[in-house]
Amino acid sequence: MATGPLRFATPHIEELPTTHTRQAPGFAWVAVSGAQDDSSKNWGTANRKRARAQGGGQTEAQKEAITARQQREIERKIKELNSDNSKDVQIPLPKREGTGGGASRAGKTSNTKKILASGKTFAHYLDDEEAEIARTGRRDGDLEVQMPAAQPRPSKTPLARRKTLGEDGSSTGGTPIPQSLNARRSMDHSSRPSTPGASRLDEQNEDQQDIPTLPTDAELDVLLKAPPLTYNQARSAPPPSNAPPPRRFCEVCGFFGRAKCMKCGAMTCSVLCKDTHDEHRCLKFYA
């Protein structure tokens, strides 16, 4: 790297396609993660043949586990279920009668003009913010920069008590986590209280007295002043690993799934439902 000084630590810039909306003005920041962890995309480098030979074929657990492809299918479906607008419909606003026509809809100031003309979706805004965090290590830099007494992340106590995020903390998969968050992650990984009295912190408490007391005003103040979590951080974590496995349901009638289709992996509950499945649904992608 002889050309050291010429290398800039900028994130990769990519223009995102906006299919359902008008093209957003300008560009969108996209965080680029480091190495790809997705094993399904890692198709050349890992010696899968060797791994298979060593493992002695698939274990039962592996066979049961859903494949990456199925996982993607599930994610697509959840995204569809959570979509706000009607599918494949574009509803333009009607032209207004009176009240100045289109002029006032265009916005009164340059700021609002920009906002009203924006075709960005929520995903764009989320990516922008994730990229800003990846770039600067904090969100909404404006708010923090002007703090009079350069306040670092509030004291360590509440952060340590903060609950760990799920390993896949962000919807975007490989979204990088800012350094400070990474540190916090590793710090509280072991101290996640799942039941009362289970965590390290609780043990400390119990050494002193049996009944936990209310935190002091100072402690509370720190908690109250903590900055809001980001959208991805606030997402509910997955169930603990000792939770019962997810239930599977019959694809045809909705009862508990009892038998798994050998071809496509869908569940059915009875012979009749299996017949319906074979006739109409099984491997519909190939038929």
């Binding site: 996982q71 959570n82 607008n85 609002t112 109250l224 997402r235």
Partner: protein
Amino acid sequence: MARKGASKGADAAPARLASRTLVLDNGAHTIKAGFSPLTTDSEPHADAECHVVANCIARSQRDKRTYIGPELLEECWDFGELAFRRPVEKGFVVNWEGEQAIWERTLLDKRSPLQCDPHEMNLILTEAPNGPSVLQRNMDEMVFEEFEFASYYRTISPVLNAYVPPPFPSTPALPSGTAAECLLVVDVGHSHTTTTPLHHGRPLHAACRRLEIGGKTLTNRLKEVLSRTVEVQKEDWIVQEIKEDVCFISQSFSSDLERVWKGGLKDPRDVDTSIVVDYVLPDYEAIKRGFSRPHDTKVSRKDRALGLHGGPREHIVTIANERFTVPELLFTPSDIGMQQEGVAGTILQSIYSLPQGLWQPFLANILVVGGSSKFPGFLERLRSEMESRVSEEYLVRVAQAEDPLKNVWAGGARLARSKDALSPLVVTRQEYLEHGDVWTRRKFAGKV
């Protein structure tokens, strides 16, 4: 701990505030809006003063008309094949072009009961928690630069619930303008379900959690499962009505599911007819609104549709396990493969991320609000799940707001009645023009 700056701002109060306040709970599905006059001794009546406005732009395929916001409920009579465009995405106003049209129709139009002059109006506006800050800036700019409200207080919607007297027995009366000491708000909304612990009305941000299942997820899911028998993919509105009419939360999921199982058409076993219902779909000619009735096995669906059974022609859809497997997603998101814990688990994630000393006060003050918490059996199920998951030494109290839909609005209206409480919270238009948008956001973040 008193609200910061409450005494400081009190003397300047009259100059800072306009005489009337508009409380606008800008939900993804409906806007809950109404005026709260500053000088009145009577309690704000949510039923009379809070208007529910559809927060969407709907297009009907049948009369080729576009309905904006309130027009949908006032003027639309045929909800078949309505297509929706919602400016609020995942709980946040994203498409301001659409939202502006709806707000203008709601607040500036002569036909609207909420018509007002924003220049003489304080605005209390809600947003969803944990949003990207750019969207907050957009909201501030639109309020001050486009609509030009006199003064404005933006807050996350769970906060306002703290100003309503909590429905728990033996809680002291709450004077208006003061917030409950400890309250864990579970807001089961249209876009998602959030849990927010509030201490004297201020959120403990580190413990806010969000489960990404809300009313729209359930409607879309019901649409999907009903489409196994009847094609209803395009009937957003009707399926939503079906959901509201017949869905319930099961108290014992697996036994209920056993009771309605019929292992195919020829299976001789009887299904439990107390659960299976026939839902008569509206045709908007004879039947204006769909309704349910007990399942009738004698006449087939096709005969009914053709009028061969001797009665009027009607389209029915038989709904059995869908009645409770769909809202069950709120408690078991893993049923559709979602990697998140259910409502009870999310509440506990939220509480356990706090210092242990705070667990008891929040466990004993869990308040459920939001339109999607209206399913029959929701409260009982949540209570029993919480009790089974929490150690016995803790007291668990779960209560539902009197009107889950309008509780946020009611809280805002109570806050608006107290000048002393509201005045230090708001940013006036003059202050905004003087100090700029960054200062405004810092003010709402409690950093000024």
